[in-house]
């Protein structure tokens, strides 16, 4: 049974689930541990203690460069990408009221991918690579807007959103393939790495830009947290208890696009995180958006960090895109949770 604690202070009151809090602290500890391991391992293996010495005092400049300039931004970017995709998936699953909903299924990823491939094929020579994230985000936003407008019929119903999302997504994927077929080989290669999802070669400006963006979305998430749960009731019930259902749905959809779009823009189309990480979080933490979102962020971050760690260490000297390993790492753990729950 969950232990509940009530906090009241003047005009402020909350009910806090202590077991949720404890689990979050444990997950945070695990995430920090994974960060430390990722910083230690690579072409040059260091001990965790050596890493701590590099971070908090002075050490050999070449090692400091490896840890602080090569590994840290990349790990940081992986964590942010995973966290954003995962929270986005959690929100989508609740507004669509379907456990299969994720940025991949709903056209956010395919919109970003189509735009990114289009950019890589036709604009990157003239404009350079730095506008690729902008193109990807634009694609994600436009695809979602199109889906939302097409789904509108006296309000946007979850079922119409998911059906039209799948349709638009399939169409955009076809477009992506079409463009790729007609592109020169070098473009196809870089597009392919992007489509798999990779944080290869990340330097500090990238995680800082993504982090800044996500930090900007956080207040919205905190404001809407209370409403995500009621959104999962039927529309008529939700409206019956005083929720403006259509506004809320549009607002939450916007937040999830802003999260996933940004993550994909900087990390590429990493699939599966947005589906599996929220599910793992929901198995670990009971209903209530705040706790589940925090857990989903930690799980998503850990998953992508581990996938990237596997990608850059297991097949040395090759450095494989993180996207390849997400499913390989996430699925067994998810299946384990499902089987454990059956008993």
């Amino acid at each position: 049974m969950d232990k509940l604690m009530t906090v009241r202070c003047g005009g402020f009151s909350r009910r806090i689930n202590l077991s949720t809090l404890l689990r979050l602290v444990l997950a945070l500890a695990l995430t920090l541990l994974v960060i430390l391991c990722s910083l230690s391992l690579g072409k040059v293996n260091l001990s965790p203690l050596a890493v701590l010495r590099i971070l908090f005092s002075s050490a050999d400049p070449s090692l400091t460069f490896i840890v602080e300039q090569l590994r840290f931004p990349r790990i940081f970017l992986a964590a942010l990408v995973g966290a954003a995709l995962s929270v986005s998936g959690l929100i989508l699953q609740s507004i669509i009221r379907n456990p299969l909903a994720s940025p991949d299924l709903l056209g956010i990823t395919s919109g970003a991918s189509a735009a990114a491939v289009l950019y890589l094929s036709f604009f990157s020579v003239a404009l350079g690579q730095q506008f690729l994230p902008v193109a990807a985000m634009l694609g994600a936003g436009l695809a979602t807007l199109a889906i939302y407008l097409l789904a509108w019929k006296q309000g946007a119903s979850p079922l119409r959103l998911v059906l039209i999302g799948v349709g638009v997504s399939a169409m955009l994927t076809a477009c992506t393939t079409f463009i790729l077929v007609f592109s020169p080989l070098t473009t196809t290669l870089s597009a392919y790495v992007w489509l798999t999802g990779s944080v290869y070669g990340a330097s500090w400006p990238e995680p800082l830009a993504l982090g800044g963006w996500l930090l900007g979305i956080c207040p919205l998430l905190v404001l809407l947290a209370r409403q995500v749960m009621v959104q999962q009731l039927d529309d008529s019930l939700a409206q019956g208890i005083g929720v403006r259902v259509q506004w809320l749905r549009a607002g939450l959809l916007l937040v999830s696009v802003a999260l996933a779009g940004a993550a994909i823009a900087w990390g590429g189309a990493i699939a599966f995180v947005g589906l599996i990480a929220p599910h793992i979080a929901k198995r670990l933490i009971g209903p209530g958006f705040g706790g589940q979102a925090a857990m989903a962020a930690l799980i998503g971050a850990t998953l992508v960090m581990l996938a990237d760690l596997a990608g850059r260490t297991l097949f040395l000297p090759l450095d494989l895109p993180a996207g390849i390993f997400v499913a390989v790492l996430g699925t067994p753990f998810f299946l384990y949770l499902l089987i454990k729950q059956r008993h």
Binding site: S13, L237, G242
Partner: protein, 263 residues
């Protein structure tokens, strides 16, 4: 206590008119039951009372004011609705579900006030769900689940409760259990209850006021004894029947028959 009425209310889906120019006043503090054949518009009417449907013409008057002039949250503090077969968020416990009924009283700052706690506790007690409070809603039986939903509407602390076929898919024992609970709430808390029921005999037994919806309007209304007649059942349901007083409760009892007319 708020009252609910309709003024030349016209409801339609696309171009099809469902309810046409209806003027109706439902009695305060009583149990009103809407009856009628499938697709006659009784559920639609109930929805419009809860502000879930915008009328094409006319208005629903809640407490003297057009319901569409009020905000969603203001309506939610005066009136609760329980739709047919509602679905609960995955894994939610009974206590959490009932707590959701407090939503219209909460804000970002205030999410679990002393009053919230007291009302949820009271709602759980009134529905006899205290021992099941920490169970997941998915694990409850049909009757218990329906009680949990009713508890949620009670936590909403409204003068009016609307229910769309609250006894559907329940076995007879649980139907009676739910209806008894609703009557207790009406008698003890003086709540105005408006519901759609399919079982005419149970409708007669529990209703103070009965409305037969037919031909896009309130075809007949009044006490069950006045409303439920053999000719009404023939007109509204296209069904032959005898109406006799219930030997136990004295309320009208409808004995339907098809082609086999008893000699």
């Amino acid at each position: 206590m708020p009252s609910i009425a309709s003024r030349s209310l016209t409801l339609s889906y696309q171009r099809q008119v469902i309810i046409d120019e209806l003027d109706m006043q439902l009695p305060k503090g009583k149990i009103s039951v809407l009856i009628g054949s499938n697709g006659c518009g009784k559920s639609t009417l109930l929805k419009s009372f809860a502000r879930l449907l915008k009328p094409t013409h006319g208005s629903v008057i809640l407490d003297g004011v057009d319901i569409h002039q009020k905000s969603t949250a203001a309506v939610a503090r005066e009136l609760a609705i329980l739709p047919q077969m509602p679905s609960a968020p995955e894994g939610i416990s009974v206590r959490q579900l009932v707590s959701l009924g407090r939503y219209p009283y909460q804000s970002w700052m205030q999410q679990w006030s002393v009053e919230d706690e007291a009302m949820v506790k009271q709602a759980l007690a009134q529905t006899g769900l205290e021992i099941l409070a920490d169970r997941p809603v998915d694990a409850l039986s049909g009757g218990q689940r329906q009680r949990a939903w009713i508890a949620m509407t009670l936590a909403q602390d409204t003068g009016i409760v609307l229910l769309d076929e609250p006894t559907t898919f329940l076995d007879l024992a649980h139907q009676i259990e739910v209806l008894d609970l609703l009557r207790d709430l009406n008698r003890r808390e003086n709540k105005t209850i408006i519901m759609v029921l399919h079982d005419l005999n149970l409708a007669c037994r529990y209703a103070d006021h009965m409305v037969a919806v037919h031909e896009r309007t309130a075809f007949a209304q009044g006490r069950p004894e006045e409303v439920l007649t053999e000719s009404l059942v023939k007109t509204v349901f296209d069904l032959n029947c005898r109406i006799i007083p219930d030997p136990f409760f004295g309320t009208p009892m409808c004995i339907p028959f098809g082609r086999d007319v008893p000699q």
